[in-house]
Amino acid sequence: VLSVADNGKPTGEDQLRALYEQAESATAQAMEDVVAKRSFGRMLAMATENVAALTRMTADLADLTLRNLRIASRADITRLARALGRTEDKLERVLQEIESLRDELAAERSKSGAR
């Protein structure tokens, strides 16, 4: 094998590797064709819907169990976080109003100062 390589020709290992890469590349292309089919999309959609429904059912069950034990559940924390988010939205708008009023006031002051 070594003498063949010295002659500048590909070794057996090189040939094997090239053959493998060719096969891998063909498989990759074939798989890409498979996933691009509508039937694969339909299968994926059903699988996603099933996972989503199972996730929701598990989460609801866990929430119910915790609530019956008088312990705050994820749903309660989410509700609180949403309320905080709404407060933050309002605060952001108020802050922006204050900033624009301050800018307007500064502009007015500099105008009257220039007079």
């Binding site: 070594l2 290992e13 891998e24 498989t27 990759a28 798989m31 890409e32 996933v35 691009a36 089919k37 509508r38 694969f40 999309g41 339909r42 994926l44 959609a45 996603t48 819907e49 996972v51 989503a52 429904a53 996730t55 929701r56 994820r74 989410t78 976080a81 949403r82 905080l84 988010g85 933050e88 939205d89 952001e92 922006q96 900033e99």
Partner: protein
């Protein structure tokens, strides 16, 4: 002899491969020093520290709602942020954070009309500039284009330059569309069930577009590079860590994105509305740079091209380069082959 040496080295190679894979989470991403200048809900606006600022027009970087914006600042020596700072730009970055169930009601309108609009406002206030350059990538680019196409108060005039990197505006011919484009795929119901689409699920969907390449070939190539001594963990690990970091996608925004991009093509047709305001890309008048990647399978080039038929900009530049959706802009060749061209385009349009 060669084969015997290989066999003798195999345990060592296996150990190194395992070490690279197991310590990937230790890779440092986003190492360039920065300060948070504004926050709202999960969104944070960062300004990168620099003593080299020389261009008066700041840059605001906007990434997608999937994956993290650290891709802009991947690793020292391979960071677009670092490069732009060295070129004298004042760089800001908007980070959408890690949305969770409490953000499930965030829609595209919230991202475009509130978060992005306010981030632009804060960027201008913080930098003292009247105008900025908006740089969007992937979904981030679509959000930027939607912002510039909004009907209304003319606040978009603050955007002087618009740079759109591998941006989808019409995905109806993509593989995604064959998955989620049919009415049988009830995106609204799935969004309602999940509340926030788990980031891992979005990642698996992305990887399924090229299953063999993503689930096998990349690891096989890493093993091969370890065996022949050419493995570069400083390059592999940051990218691998970034790919594995998948924030959740707020359910409402996700369902709206599916409808907008893969079902009705409303964005390209100018039929999109956000909070009652129409979004028409024909309103884009900014200096425009569009970068497309020839081998982009996430946002295929054909889905970006309609932008050129729509915009009203007089100054339009298109860089169409070889590469993939992420690799083109963050790959190891980008610093040499793309970033200097981007910087040159920006410099010409960033003077007062």
């Amino acid at each position: 002899v060669n084969v015997l040496v290989r066999i003798a080295r195999a345990p060592l190679d296996a150990l190194e491969l395992a070490n690279i894979l197991l310590t990937t989470d230790d890779a440092v991403l986003g190492a360039t020093p920065r300060d948070a200048v504004w926050t709202h809900r999960a969104t944070t606006l960062y300004r990168y520290r620099s003593s080299l600022r020389e261009h008066p027009i700041p840059l605001l970087l906007v990434f997608a709602l999937i994956n993290r914006p650290e891709i802009f600042d991947l690793r020292p020596g391979g960071s677009l942020v670092e490069f732009l700072i060295e070129e004298g730009f004042d760089v800001f970055l908007v980070d959408w954070g890690y949305p969770d169930e409490e953000d499930a009601d965030m829609g595209l309108d919230d991202y475009v009309c509130d978060e992005l609009h306010w981030a632009i406002r804060e960027t201008l206030r913080c930098s003292g500039a009247d105008e900025l350059t908006l740089v969007g990538w992937c979904i981030g680019a679509t959000l930027c284009a939607m912002y510039c196409g909004l009907d209304g108060d003319g606040e978009q005039t603050a955007v002087r330059n618009l740079m759109l990197l591998t941006m989808p505006i019409d995905g109806r011919s993509s593989t995604y569309a064959s998955w989620v484009g049919s009415p049988a795929f009830d995106a609204e119901r799935i969004a309602e069930q999940f509340r926030v689409l788990p980031g891992g699920m979005v990642d698996i969907a992305n990887k399924l577009l090229k299953p063999v390449t993503n689930f096998w070939t990349s690891y096989r190539r890493l093993g091969q590079s370890v065996a022949d001594g050419s493995a570069r963990r400083d390059v592999y690990q940051p990218m691998a860590r970034w790919i594995a970091d998948n924030p959740n996608f707020p359910g409402r925004a996700w369902a709206e994105w599916i409808a907008l991009m893969y079902r009705d093509g409303a964005l390209a047709d100018g039929r999109t509305r956000l909070r009652g305001r129409s979004v028409d890309l024909r309103r884009i008048e900014q200096n425009l740079l569009v970068v497309t990647a020839a081998a982009d399978h996430i946002a295929p080039r054909e889905g970006t091209m309609p932008i050129f038929e729509l915009v009203a900009s007089h100054d339009v530049t298109h860089f169409d380069r070889a590469g993939g959706h992420i690799g083109l802009i963050a790959g190891s060749a980008a610093r040499r082959e793309l970033w200097p061209d981007i910087a040159a385009w920006l410099v010409e349009r960033s003077h007062e």
